[in-house]
């Protein structure tokens, strides 16, 4: 059973509610239909109910099992406006009311309010817009100040590694790198149901090289441990030291629970992370699922604007398990 099939099986037992704020994109409607048909989650479409039903009808999709939330409902708008203001007190009621009219903010507030479990957007919006809406509505997890993303890499031999950050933070400083690691560890624990062993990667293994870039990674390890003392973070490691026990035995003299056994790989910057996941995918034949956004207090995921219906279903499945 592939990791995605495993996720789908688990998602069907939880059947979380997921809001898709971009109903005008036909792929979203088709994905909602697949999600319903496979009982993966309860899709929710906010907007003008008449327009949504028209869109579903034109696409030949039944609205059975798809919840429609009327975004023109004045009582709901009022409730979400007040929720926004409560979270962002610098903003006046008049301004909050304007922001609530924006589909991504409206959907984010549905998640923040607890009415809906998670949000999936980005088919018709930029990643920056999705991150902005999530930050303004659901906010960040405890101890986290930066959003990031991870990939689930399923190797040909079925081993699974989480790679981060391969899509959001271009040149993370030590604090941001620590946020990436802590968020990825939390995502790993929820999705894999086992303990993350988090390796901070570098071109140096435990002081084998000296450079400001190595110092940045070393500081990040310390910051991550301070934010999340219950998880095992270690580094800096070269990638072979992180994933190969025989190499780790030769290179690492001090005790380490992570060296040689890492299942979460934290790359020092976006160059390294992005190149690594594509090399693993294209040269090693691994399956790559992602990027999945993380770091928010409640799950919000981004889609590539070129996402296919099957991509949207996969992201929704993974997102539902993060709630």
């Amino acid at each position: 059973m592939s990791i995605l099939d495993n996720f789908i099986t688990r998602a069907t037992t939880l059947k979380r509610s997921i809001v898709f704020p971009e109903f005008w994109d036909n792929r979203i409607l088709e994905a909602a239909a697949v999600i319903c048909e496979k009982s993966i989650a309860r899709p929710v479409l906010p907007g003008n109910p008449e327009e949504i039903r028209k869109g579903l009808s034109l696409s030949g999709i039944s609205s059975d099992g798809i919840e429609i939330i009327d975004s023109t409902n004045l009582q709901l708008i009022d409730e979400l406006t007040h929720l926004y203001q409560k979270q962002r007190p610098n903003v006046s009621e008049k301004v909050a009311a304007r922001l609530v009219k924006k589909p991504l903010i409206f959907a984010g507030l549905l998640v923040a309010s607890g009415k809906i479990d998670a949000m999936v957007a980005g088919a018709a919006s930029t990643t920056a817009e999705v991150i902005q809406a999530a930050a303004l509505t659901v906010g960040y997890q405890s101890g986290i100040k930066n959003s990031s993303s991870f990939f689930i890499m399923e190797m040909a031999d079925s081993r699974v590694f989480f790679y981060a950050d391969c899509a959001v933070n271009i040149s993370p400083d030590s604090n941001t790198l620590a946020d990436v690691a802590v968020s990825t560890a939390r995502s790993y624990r929820k999705l894999m149901n086992k303990e993350p062993l988090v390796a901070f990667l570098s071109f140096s293994s435990k002081g084998s090289a000296s450079h400001p870039d190595v110092d940045k990674v070393k500081r990040a390890v310390e910051i991550a441990r301070a934010i999340d003392p219950d998880t095992v973070y270690d580094g800096e490691f070269q990638v072979d030291t992180a994933v190969s026990e025989s190499v780790a035995q030769k290179k690492i003299k001090e005790p380490s629970k992570v060296a040689g056994r890492a299942n979460v790989l934290i790359f020092p910057d976006l160059d390294a992370g992005n190149i690594a996941y594509k090399i693993t995918q294209y040269l090693a034949g691994a399956k790559a699922y992602g990027p999945i956004l993380q770091g928010f207090a409640k799950p919000v995921s981004d889609l590539s604007r070129g996402a296919k219906v099957s991509d949207i279903v996969a992201v929704a499945t993974i997102t539902s398990l993060l709630s």
Binding site: R88, N90, V91, K94, V95, R98, I131, Q132, A135, L136
Partner: protein, 82 residues
């Protein structure tokens, strides 16, 4: 509306949203570098300007405005069309 009035009201909005005293805000002030705006606050600033002047701005173009003085220019153009 006179330019000086637009600038005064923009400073008040920026001060409320970013928590910066009005007297520290000048036309040359850059929202991010000088006034400490986080990227997530740009959407709130745009919505606040729209509410203050009762206008609807093109969001992508509005988000490209980087200084207080440029925001004054940008909003004056919308006020002329009202």
């Amino acid at each position: 509306m006179e330019r000086v009035e637009v600038e005064k009201r923009i400073k008040k909005v920026v001060s409320n949203i970013l928590g910066v005293p009005e007297e520290k805000i000048t036309p040359e002030s850059r929202f991010v570098e000088d006034l400490g705006a986080e990227s997530v606050q740009s959407l709130e600033l745009v919505a606040s300007f729209e509410a203050e002047f009762d206008i609807e701005m093109e969001e992508d173009a509005a988000l490209e405005v980087k200084t207080v003085g440029k925001a004054v220019d940008f909003i004056i153009e919308y006020l002329k069309k009202k």
